[in-house]
């Protein structure tokens, strides 16, 4: 099996977000593999271990993402590709991935259901449409039988089970697999694994962020005595008007 996993490089989920103008202030921010991408990578490692084949990890990013890519190699990817560009928006990233994957005969292209920074949730669908492949999102279970992939996804009020022929694209999330933590041997091996850097095919991006704003903090919490639930009900009714 020939698997491509696309990863993004995002601030650790507990990071306090700050901006300088229209850019994220990276000062003191720890970057990680996108948490949803981590699920995709974990399942890809399991599938490769079970059936053999090759697992490539791809990131659209500038040189500062290489430690994140090396971590994916340490977790079990065989080789890596970095498309050397600032990931301007979902369309730009999708175009790069599709251009790279077009003639590589991947059986599946996995990634997270969304990046935890810009939360677009668009790249998987765009790549699939550009390559005329099915796309399953959010993909929560994934099994392969011969040339058929069987997947489960969450829908309103329940779960839907689907199948399709390979190749396909999936935007993954838990509980597809348990996250894998790199071990010492993986980290040592990752240093020697190939990391190819290629240039982007275009520079165009159809969206531009012109301003960031932090949401207003909730007013100071109003504390209510535990013995006075009548008062809480009254406030929810008359003040918050939610009952």
């Amino acid at each position: 099996m020939n698997i491509l996993v696309c990863i993004c490089h995002v601030p650790d989920t507990t990071t306090k977000i700050k901006f300088t103008g229209t850019e994220l202030d990276k000062n003191g921010v720890q970057f990680i593999i996108g948490p949803y991408d981590d699920y995709a990578l974990a399942r890809a490692v399991e599938l490769k271990d079970a059936s053999g084949g090759k697992l490539t990890v791809l990131n659209v990013g500038e040189a500062d993402t290489e430690p994140t890519i090396r971590k994916a190699l340490a977790i079990g990817a065989d080789d890596a590709v970095r498309i050397n560009a600032h990931p301007k928006d979902a369309y730009f990233v999708a175009e790069q991935i599709a251009a790279y994957a077009k003639d590589k005969n991947f059986d599946m292209i996995l990634m997270g259901r969304e990046a935890s920074d810009y939360n677009g949730g668009q790249v998987h669908g765009m790549v699939a449409e550009m390559l005329d492949m099915p796309c399953i999102v959010p993909c929560m279970t994934l099994e392969v039988e011969g040339n058929i992939a069987k997947m489960g996804r969450e829908i309103e009020g329940g779960k839907e089970y689907v199948e399709c022929e390979m190749p396909f694209v999936a935007g993954c999330q838990e509980p597809i697999a348990e996250w894998k933590i790199p071990n010492m041997r993986g980290i040592m091996m990752a240093r020697k694994k190939p990391l190819e850097v290629i240039e982007p095919t275009t520079e165009s991006a159809p969206t531009e962020i012109v301003n960031f704003e932090l949401p207003p903090s909730r007013g100071n919490v109003k504390m209510i005595d535990a013995d006075n639930m009548d008062e809480l009900v009254r406030l929810l009714k008359e003040e918050a008007k939610v009952l």
């Binding site: 369309y91 669908g125 796309c135 829908i155 779960k159 839907e160 301003n211 909730r218 919490v221 535990a226």
Partner: protein, 318 residues
């Protein structure tokens, strides 16, 4: 110019979130509003009240499970028929999956998770929720065509816009591979109040000690006609089903009222609930971080407070 709105219906009734999308389209003032309906639904002329001029109705059993690729083709082909250069739809499992495909098909710029009407004095700028609710990004969209997915509760429904809509049968053009994904099974959860759609949510965490203690949470939820939810460790330990887990890695909810019982308020939990209109936190630890993100707080033992709250609601006749 015109706007196309993709509408979803459940049990023959148009979903509230779709009415929000219609309201958004009407308030954009970007020309005629056309609605596309591929689900079974009645009384579609009434969508005129929300400003819809024409409803394109697709009656095709092959669309009953909302196959993403085919729905995307239907949306793009309806937009072309209506001469629409903006597609507006409310976020759902179908819309989130279909929007990027529609974008590529229509050569349109896609903006997801939009929380406010566009600013059009200097280009076309929409506000999106980003960094899992920790920030908003005002995003300028280039190009003629646009696809917007709207966050739940982004704006209040307005049914005072227009009159009656004309309903037309519509047969979309499908792509060769649109039905390549086969649905083999659907498992609907029990209960009639579904978490992603719920307006009121009662949620509980590890503070409840074990699954046997969820009876009081269910009683409170029943009293309020609310859906129940939980934190991640609770579903990881199988105290509650996985589909109740809210947060960054679970379901994101934006109800009018979110009541959190015995949940610490970790940042990953907040990421899934911080768009709620009003948050009530019940926790025995007055230092629990959740109080910082709450509108109303009660410091107390859940086993004591929750039954009292249920009683108070009963007494008030809620």
């Amino acid at each position: 110019m015109s706007v196309l709105v993709y509408i979803e219906a459940d049990n023959n009734a148009v979903k509230k979130s779709s009415l929000e999308a219609l309201t958004y389209a009407a308030k954009m003032n970007a020309g005629d509003v056309t609605a596309l309906v591929t689900d079974k639904a009645e009384n579609l002329e009434e969508l005129g009240k929300y400003g819809v001029k024409t409803v394109l109705q697709v009656s095709d059993d092959k669309l009953s499970t909302r196959p993403v690729s085919a729905i995307a083709s239907a949306i793009a082909s309806a937009a072309s028929k209506a001469g629409a250069n903006v597609v507006v739809m409310s976020r759902s499992s179908t819309v989130d999956a279909a929007a990027p495909r529609v974008g590529v098909k229509m050569k349109a710029t896609v903006a997801s998770n939009v929380v406010a009407l566009p600013q059009t004095d200097n280009g076309f700028v929409v506000r999106r929720g980003v960094f899992t609710g920790k920030a908003f990004a005002d995003t300028k969209l280039e190009g003629e065509n646009k696809v917007l997915t709207i966050a739940k509760n982004a704006l209040a429904i307005d049914d005072s816009v227009g009159g009656s809509a004309t309903v037309e049968a519509f047969s979309p053009e499908y792509g060769a591979k649109d039905f390549a994904v086969k649905v083999t099974d659907v498992k609907k959860q029990e209960g009639d109040i579904l978490l992603p759609e719920a307006d009121l949510v009662v949620s509980a965490g590890r503070g409840l000690k074990g699954p046997e203690n969820w009876g009081m949470i269910e009683n409170l939820a029943n009293e309020l006609h609310a859906a129940t939810a939980c934190s991640k460790p609770v579903s990881d330990m199988d105290w509650r089903p996985h589909h109740e887990h809210v947060g960054q890695t679970g379901i994101k909810v934006a109800p009018s009222l979110y009541i959190a019982v015995g949940i610490s308020g970790a940042i990953q939990h907040l990421a899934g609930v911080n768009s709620s209109k009003t948050i009530v936190v019940i926790n025995k630890d007055s230092e629990a971080p959740f109080f910082k993100s709450a509108d109303y707080g009660v410091v107390g033992d859940a086993f004591d407070v929750v039954p009292k709250l249920t009683e108070a609601l009963k007494k008030a006749g809620i």
